[in-house]
């Protein structure tokens, strides 16, 4: 049993939150390409949510469009999550490889992405009094994704439920650390750049003068 296509597997894990990821692991399925595609869809969802939301629902500052925060919200957060989780769980006897964590996490966030698209779509046809439907759909997607993510992490590392929760907490702390170091590194390189640039201007002036 359980002979699915790649998309069939995706559908299977989404609609079988208890056993889906265990089946996926047992059958050694899951596509890395599809998971990258899902992360790309997450990025598009962020853009769509900001730009195409119904006029009355949109709280973003639409005068200026800056793609960098959206990239951070999608690609950066996702891959920092994957790396953070791998780093933490390797230390705590987790069985997941980097590739598997990436695939399982991506599969788990599909309901959230779907919720964003759907709530953005219907927000174009609803008025503010009916905002509860928009919120309901996006929160439903988010909640479903959280459940799936816990199950996915449980399956990929073969943890108990409590250990999964602890590892997720640890992952969040690891993410904070990674992002903090990244910001630190960026500002350091900025300083180095400024230093080299001022050296360059100094030398350039001397040569000319």
């Amino acid at each position: 049993m359980y002979e699915f296509t790649t998309l069939g597997w995706l559908k299977h894990v989404i609609f079988h939150p208890i056993e889906g990821f265990e089946d996926l692991r047992w059958k050694k399925k899951g596509s890395l390409g599809l998971s990258f595609f899902i992360v790309f869809l997450l990025f598009v969802a962020m853009v769509v949510d900001r730009q195409l939301k119904g006029f009355a629902f949109n709280t973003a500052y639409v005068k200026v469009f800056n793609v960098v925060p959206l990239i951070v919200q999608s690609f950066v957060y996702f891959f920092v999550w994957v790396i953070g989780n791998w780093a933490v769980c390797t230390l705590f006897d987790g069985e997941g490889t980097l590739k598997k964590i990436c695939i399982y996490s991506a599969y788990a966030i599909v309901p959230y992405i779907f919720g964003v698209y759907l709530s953005t779509f219907i927000s174009n046809f609803l008025v503010l009094d009916e905002a509860i439907w928009v919120n309901f759909i996006s929160y439903l997607g988010l909640g479903w994704s959280v459940v799936l993510m816990i199950q996915a992490m449980k399956a990929v590392h073969q943890y108990s439920f409590t250990k999964t929760l602890v590892s997720i907490g640890g992952t969040l702390i690891a993410m904070l650390l990674i992002l903090f170091l990244a910001v630190l590194l960026l500002s350091l390189f900025q300083q180095v750049y400024v230093f080299i640039y001022s050296l360059y201007t100094e030398i350039a002036y001397r040569i000319r003068g």
């Binding site: 296509t5 790649t6 998309l7 069939g8 559908k11 390409g33 599809l34 006029f55 009355a56 949109n58 500052y61 005068k63 046809f125 008025v127 503010l128 009094d129």
Partner: protein, 536 residues
Amino acid sequence: MLKRLIGIATAVATISSMAVTAFADEPYETYSYDNWQDPIPSQAGYMVEKTWTGHDLGLDELSNPESEFFISNNENPNLNGACDIYVEDTTRTIWIADTENHRILSFNENFELKGCYKSIDGAGVKNFNAPKGLFVEVNAEGDTILYVADTENSRGVRLKITGPLTCELQQEFLKPDSQAYSAEAFTPSKVSADKEGNVYLIATSVNTGALRYDKNGEFKGFFGANRVEQTAEVIARKVWRIFASEEQLEAMVSTVPTEFHNFDMDQDGFIFTVTESANASTDAVKKLNPAGVNIWNNAKGNTYQFGDFAWGYDESVAKSTKLTDVVVGENEVFNLLDYETGRVFQYDKNADLLFVFGTRSTPSEQEGSFTAPNAVETLGDKIYVIDGIKNDVTVFVETVFGKYVHAASILNVEGKYTEAKPIWEEVIRRDGGYTMAHIALGKAALNAGEYKLAMEYFETAYDQENYDKAYEYYRDEFLRANFEIIVIGLFVLIVLILVYGKLKKKKIIAPISAYIAVGFMKIKESLKKKPKKEEE
């Protein structure tokens, strides 16, 4: 014919106003705020008509022995540190508290000197000492009654004007002999009175509100105190208070609200107050009903905001707002004066911003710029601002654009959107970025049932709430008009889904997901093939 006449009249008015504008351009940027609270450039609603110095005001007559206003030979012919200006509407007279010269001056509306008051007949302490505030009313008998906050004499006085140089004491308002008044000093700086003859004094560093006296000079209590602004410091102090010992509690600074600095009363007896403390956001401007309750209370879910939000213009100016004076004019249009930036903010009755004008003297020492703007007043289409360091009075006069906006905003406040429509259209022709005009035109379109047009106006103004309202009507209309098509469409869709389910069960067609999967595989294969070709 009439239309053409009006057209010519407006054209002439425009040309003449343009000539004036080109002649004396304002030294300040005129702007308004859009719904993002970003400053956007706007047409000027007011421009400087004239700046009056002591000489222009005819103050040298005070030291001219031949004049009827002669007081003494060494009377200062200039204003000096004037703190307050007041306009009495019924007689159209202008009164100035010339603080450092210890005198009160009165003028008619053309700034011709009508009186000068230095001493009071029938009072124990005769001479004024640095009077900082004044208030004037004409009573039922036609007498002019002058109220003065005689600051350094620690008293408020009610006087009857008996001549161009003489006035008679009616009542003194002294430091309250009451437990409720705890401050040592008593330096009243502003004064006002209501129709019942109750007198309100603002005393410096008294933060429990204005002192209220009855007409016989008896202290009746405080009125309309500010609340404490909830800054991080205040909250932290509250937390500390829970853990502190009694000795520590005694040593702690108690959190007190900032006192309001000035007030004005409108026709209906509402009192407007301003708080000068820099960047005060709690109770910066209040509209108090006669019971002392603030009806512009943001704690009750309103979002009233006054002064500058952003600093898109004049970035050299320190980022602070110090609202020092408020005045309510005709049609409940009120003006706030910002001491720090020298700007006057004008709002309509609903507290929507109409115009911003005026600026600081640095770096541009010009007409319409201020060093120490102390007080603002209004009479008809004019706004008066008195400067305590430059010692002059600046008169702003409404522009043609200002006239249109005022006319339209009055109709707007009354809810007459349809009548206001042609005026707002003229406003938009002159200033396409005027947010209030777009909103008002949207409301007019909404009233006329042109929902799509209303949505466009609201979208331009980025007014989400009103857009939502318009969209609700538009959607209802759309659904009603296309009801049959929608029902038939839904029916067909349901039938198709049912048929698809049947066919899928009988395996006549494959499920949709299979088609998608096949497509996905094909894309994947084509992606895989490409690198192989490169290898070959």
